[in-house]
Symmetry: C2
Subunit: 346 residues, 2 copies
Amino acid sequence: SRSINLAVIPGDGIGQEVVAQGLKVLSAVLPQDVKLETKEYDFGARRYHATGETLTDADLEQLKRHDAILLGAIGDPSVPSGVLERGFLLKLRFAFDHHVNLRPSKLLPGVETPLAGQPEIDFVVVREGTEGPYTGNGGTIRPGTPHAVATEVSLNTAFGIERVVRDAYARAQARPRKKLALVHKNNVLVHAGHLWTDIFHRVGKEFPEVTTEYMHVDAATIYLVTQPERFGVIVTDNLFGDIITDLAAAISGGIGVAASGNINPSGDFPSMFEPVHGSAPDIAGQGKADPSATVLSVALLLRHLGYEAEAVRIEDAVSVDLAERVGKPARSTEEIGDALAVRVAS
Amino acid sequence: SRSINLAVIPGDGIGQEVVAQGLKVLSAVLPQDVKLETKEYDFGARRYHATGETLTDADLEQLKRHDAILLGAIGDPSVPSGVLERGFLLKLRFAFDHHVNLRPSKLLPGVETPLAGQPEIDFVVVREGTEGPYTGNGGTIRPGTPHAVATEVSLNTAFGIERVVRDAYARAQARPRKKLALVHKNNVLVHAGHLWTDIFHRVGKEFPEVTTEYMHVDAATIYLVTQPERFGVIVTDNLFGDIITDLAAAISGGIGVAASGNINPSGDFPSMFEPVHGSAPDIAGQGKADPSATVLSVALLLRHLGYEAEAVRIEDAVSVDLAERVGKPARSTEEIGDALAVRVAS
Ligand SMILES: CC(C)[C@H](C(=O)O)[C@@H](O)C(=O)O
Ligand SMILES: CC(C)[C@H](C(=O)O)[C@@H](O)C(=O)O
């Protein structure tokens, strides 16, 4: 008989509320014969204040034993900027080698977009997750003086680029339009940029059916708002991916519905699934948060574990739920979760 | 009697066409008593192919003697990516210490935007122009092998940050709403980010009337499309500024109307003014390019040299011209230039 052994990290702010709904929908969608085991972990601001710890080696040992991780949000204004991001979120992505950071953008029927004329939006960003300017490589000399100098070093390896580029080609190949865009800034960041561009072209020879284009990151922001229908799959560096996926979320329904997967395709370590939105402390505890992004992250999780039919059932349920919201009064986090659970079960 | 001694660099692609119109409008707007001298320089792809040179020390010596520089566009697909960008554009910005890269965004009446509901957009981005990941500090080992590693180093100094932050505060202070946002990514790029943030807060004490906020660059892309009216002045790093100003241009009428100044406020070296768009080789030589961005760059140039009334006359002329385009057939580059020249003269 089948089973899923899930690590659950509700985290800070609205994380608690949205993860509860994600789990509710997960239980509702799973067939009877699948045994779901969950273990909750208390990471984030509370633990940091109590113990000074963000993510220890012992924590990683425990998390490693799960099939996958569902995360709500980590981050709180009471903790200095960077401590939980570097000490927990990025530490986990790096420790578990989550090199494929998958962020789909699809504008569903009835969903509001800030763009005029309801364009067709249906693309996936494959963001590199373990390299680039995110490696924490940098430093400051003479801090607090007029002679301070701070550096940030972007590290890019052929190994790291090739595996994520190949993953993106395979995803492009599997989609009807077979389109892949590389987004970088190879006219200024010439070292990293040329390495990305060379590997992108070389790996492309293995995928002759995929149509490719190269685009500078600045130009990509223009196309995302003027011609979003242009994109199929986008592959890009860790920092550029961070920036353009927030823009992509904004134009395709907002971060209330933006899901993401931090994937280790080798399966050596569990992959982690999380909504793109943060902990939103301003609305935490009020039942106002939209759990859809977390529920859609559960769909990505199920697809990753091989439950394709269940993933599609969740995505369809969210799509219908969003379309039916139009013109109706706002519902609470729990009401939306309940409605989705009923829908995926039936 | 007054005089302007201008270096003119038409450059590649549509650069030639748009600069001709910029100069036409400049001549038309200047009072009789101002003597305008221009000297044209042949930089860009043609010269590079002929001589292998992009910008020599002797070139810099000559350019230095001018009061300001008007540039069309540099860049051509026949030249490998990065050669002209690093060898000319960035070399000039660095050599002449153009640390204030000024990019206003204003959605003028009647101008199309990809955003729904014609929001109010009127902000200025002050992009740092001489530091960050643009310093060309990086390298590649084992190129062309599976073990290649490429780095890019972002350099940030208290000196460089403080002067541009102070410039941005002064601009915010001079505007009716007195709002300034710092855009960075201080939760991940903690070294550079904390240096920027500390200096931003320290300098802020000198400008108690200015309301400030901090925003991560990813969040900034969301606000730019969902609440662009939120912004007054934005100050940011070289790379983040590159990215968000293309997005800012896209939402406020497109790069056909986006002007910029590469300013050295000390006056030790001439400042350079250029449209944000590139050389657009696909439409070069066809009289299709919109010269408005170049004409608006001429307005920034005049303002920088102290000709405020003339700058405003140009901006008003472009504004009226854009509003009158609605529903009319497209005009050529030259027709638009002629119309603007007539308007600023009258
Ligand atoms: C919180 C932060 C570390 C993170 C990132 O920059 O990757 C977030 O913005 C994201 O996109 O998941
Ligand atoms: C062409 C390139 C070097 C340049 C930059 O990145 O600064 C351009 O994109 C700009 O914004 O002026």
